[in-house]
């Protein structure tokens, strides 16, 4: 019954979404408040109905109703309750339902936002409803999570053990909030084109949606990266894999957008460009969904692959992006304000430069991701585009852009001066120089890329902190400086945090990649090995029974100079229902460094007797994940600043 009820709710939600489109269009046409209110109701109803449908799916998982195909394929009675719930979005169908639910929630939120002018809001709601309807139709007609099996199995096939992990359980919802959040931005941009409104107000209404989507996407990607780091057991956190790139593309475009929309909001300039980026960001989100689900690209994260559904997703992408870009081609000039001029050296100019680098990065990553596909289609030849390509193309681009960042962030609106900015930044420059010497000495002279990266990271961090520091420094006495620091606008703190986070991330990434150490040994209990000055002793190996797995667990003590640093318990888990093995890394946080221990298989051959123990020393690895968290926090603070201004 639950499943039928869920399917029924899906159909109702589809109808409510169509109503939202119709009523919003009519409200816009007639200028009718009553119709506008009805559209608001329809958007709310769609969100509530989808939330209920999602609850039905979760209930089917919790109750282990294996007559539902999706539950039978992705769940098992043995699984802990938490993973029964999260399995609801562990498959293609379930995650598509989550996508639709997120879309409907954004629609409802847009419908209830006070402020935007009624006609503008009605247009945006109609466009957004249209997008939601496309995805809902795709869900209901090709990927229903509520399909029944004629002969239900006694037991389910269980969820991929790799997905039974807390970080990966909340990674998809975060990611989808980000992806789908860009659909709201897309709708607002298309509404601006439909209304032909000149820059200003609409950019102000677009900005919090951009910030929220980007911040959530940042969190989602970081969680995914952290999961790869400790669950796959290689110690890697970014592989330039097509699926990773698929999430990185909208992130880069969104980063460009969140900068350009500031210029459009505040100065009325770059209006057409901002609208273009808004359309691009969501188009790239949809492209990501297509790439991940269609199986056209090989990936370590291959997920719910089905070519025939892929074609439909491509069609949705083609229709919505096609309509939006055509509209852009014909109506973008209506948005442009002629009076919004600025000198090349100015805050606006700096943000244009930022957008140049970010947009070219989007192009490079897009071409790198799709090139093997295109080449194979044209010539039938296979080629691989891996990390070395991105290190040679993306990294220099990023380096150039980041070098200019601290200076650009100091320039005044309309027209600035570079010399005073450089003078202000002399301490940041000195800090960067110090980092250069340190990095060359510690990381080795041969690692040019690494010491340039470390220098850049310190330059960024010092430059970011300089802004609040210099504000405070203008105070006469201690109390005055404190007062000035407290008076620093929240928006400035937001920028400081985000740019600081970028520097923090870069430092971690560069140092971890260059200076990490690894050792691999075969040990019997009592045996010892060493990595980066830490001595590891394999104390014991035992078998532990988990809720739906059996684990071989090692107890390993780490000592430095005879003192116990920490104790880790890495595991190998066997999931008998899937016959799949996973590794649970033993992670030991040493300040900002990670001691990372993996338990391998037992051997008894020419190599030796005992268990394979692999230990990594990953210096500053913590910063790699801390940096993006700071960036996301910066985005959230910027939203807070936006609301404060409004109130």
């Amino acid at each position: 019954m639950i499943a039928e009820f869920g399917a029924f709710l899906l159909a109702l939600a589809f109808a409510a979404t169509l109503l939202q489109v119709g009523l919003s269009t009519a409200a816009r046409w007639r200028g009718s408040d009553a119709l506008g209110g009805a559209a608001q109701g329809a958007a709310t109803a769609a969100a509530v109905l989808l939330a209920l449908a999602f609850a039905m799916l979760i209930q089917a998982f919790v109750a282990s109703d294996f007559s539902v195909e999706n539950v039978a394929a992705n769940s098992h009675t043995d699984k802990p309750l938490f993973y029964k719930v999260t399995a609801a979005w562990g498959s293609h169908e379930g995650s598509m339902l989550l996508w639709c639910l997120t879309g409907a929630l954004f629609s409802a939120a847009m419908a209830w936002t006070r402020g935007p002018e009624k006609t503008f809001r009605a247009s945006a709601l109609a466009v957004h409803g249209g997008l939601n309807a496309l995805f809902l139709a795709f869900l209901a007609f090709t990927s229903s999570p509520f399909a029944r099996l004629a002969e239900p199995p006694v037991e389910g096939a269980s969820l991929n053990p790799l997905l039974q992990d807390p970080a990966l359980a909340i990674h998809p919802p975060m990611l989808y909030l980000g992806y789908v959040g860009f659909s709201a931005v897309f709708a607002l941009a298309v509404a601006a084109l439909i209304e032909g409104r000149r820059a200003g107000e609409w950019a102000r209404w677009m900005r919090p949606w951009v910030l929220a989507s980007w911040a959530l996407l940042t969190l989602g990607i970081t969680l995914g990266s952290f999961w790869a780091y400790y669950e796959l057991g290689w110690g890697g956190w970014w592989f330039w894999d097509p699926v990773e790139n698929a999430s990185f593309l909208p992130w880069l475009a969104g980063a460009a957008l969140l900068h350009s929309v500031i210029v459009t909001q505040r100065r009325g300039a770059l209006a057409a460009w901002t609208v273009f980026l808004a359309i691009l960001s969501f188009s790239l989100s949809m492209l990501g969904a297509f790439l991940v689900r269609s199986g056209v690209l090989t990936s370590v994260h291959a997920f719910a692959v089905d070519p025939s559904r892929g074609v439909l997703l491509l069609a949705i992408l083609g229709v919505s992006a096609g309509v939006a870009f055509s509209l852009f081609a014909f109506r973008a000039k209506l948005l442009v304000r002629e009076d919004a001029n600025f000198a090349p050296v100015s805050r606006e100019g700096a943000l244009v430069l930022n957008n140049l680098f970010l947009t070219v990065s989007v192009g490079v990553v897009l071409i790198g991701t799709l090139y093997p596909l295109m080449l194979e289609a044209v010539t039938g030849e296979a080629v691989s585009v891996g990390p070395p390509y991105y290190n040679l193309t993306f990294a220099p681009l990023l380096g150039l852009g980041l070098t200019a960042l601290p200076v650009g962030a100091m320039l005044a609106w309309r027209r600035g001066r570079i010399a005073p900015a450089l003078k202000e930044l002399k301490w940041a420059g000195l800090a960067a120089l110090g980092a250069l010497v340190w990095a060359a000495a510690v990381l080795g002279l041969g690692e040019i890329g690494a010491w340039l990266g470390a220098t850049l990271a310190v330059w960024l961090m010092a430059g970011a902190l300089w802004e609040p520091w210099s504000r405070a420094a203008r105070g006469a006495d201690r109390a005055g400086r404190w007062r000035r620091l407290k008076a620093t606008p929240v928006a400035v703190w937001a920028m400081t945090l985000a740019h600081l986070g970028l520097g923090v991330f870069l430092l971690g990434a560069v140092v971890e990649t260059t200076a990490k150490a690894q050792t691999s040994d075969i040990l019997m209990p009592g045996g010892r090995t060493q990595v980066a000055g830490v001595e590891l002793t394999l104390d014991s190996v035992g078998v532990r029974e988990g809720p739906n797995y059996l684990a071989e667990q090692a107890v390993i003590t780490a000592r430095r100079d005879g003192r116990i640093v920490c104790r880790v318990e890495p595991e190998r888990r066997l999931f008998p229902h899937n016959g799949q093995m996973t590794t649970e890394v033993g992670l030991c946080f040493q300040g900002l460094d990670d001691l990372y221990v993996v338990l391998g298989e037992r051997r008894d051959d020419g190599a030796g007797r005992g268990w394979t123990v692999r230990a990594h020393w990953n210096p500053l690895a913590r910063l790699i994940f801390l940096g993006p968290l700071l960036m996301a926090l910066g985005g959230i603070l910027a939203i807070a600043a936006w609301f404060r201004r409004r109130g």
Partner: protein, 153 residues
């Protein structure tokens, strides 16, 4: 039933059983750290051809281990990075190289970054030359004097 599953699981965990393929011969790092570093760098540039999308440095697959051993032997034998890569390329095609070779088929790939930045930069320069000059700077031309954040009127 559950007991049987546990025994089976314990047997699987305890080590390689007969049904599995025999464990690969052990991998030993090269004794010369400089050579080992060269080998490690090569591992990151070579794709594990049967894997979804991994370099042989990351992969646990059997063929990745074979290739790592082969490369270590060749490095130890004093062969250059180029010849090692060229041999692998002959065996497995361009697909095995994570850094695609520059050639007519990849001109667009390698040229794209330069092309994009030149086109983008030129477009911006043309725009700036067309638009009228901005106003005179206020104060020292720094943001801190005038800015209260993007939401200021």
């Amino acid at each position: 039933m559950r007991g049987a599953a546990l025994i089976l699981a314990a047997a699987l965990l305890a080590g390689p059983v007969a049904a599995q393929e025999p464990p690969p011969p052990p991998e030993r790092s090269l004794s010369d750290p400089a050579q080992e570093a060269r080998a490690q760098a090569l591992f990151r540039d070579i794709r594990c051809v049967v894997c979804q999308n991994e370099s042989i440095a990351d992969s646990q697959a059997g063929i990745a281990g074979d290739l790592r051993r082969r490369i270590r032997e060749e490095v130890a034998a004093g062969r250059s990075d180029q010849t090692i890569k060229a041999d692998l390329q002959r065996l497995y095609g361009d697909f095995v190289l994570l850094k695609p070779p520059v050639g007519p088929r990849t001109w667009l790939l390698w040229g794209a970054p330069f092309l994009l930045i030149v086109i983008g930069g030129a477009a911006i320069l043309m725009r700036l030359r067309r638009s009228p000059a901005g106003p005179e700077p206020t104060g020292d031309g720094l943001i801190s004097a005038q800015d209260e954040g993007p939401d200021a009127a």
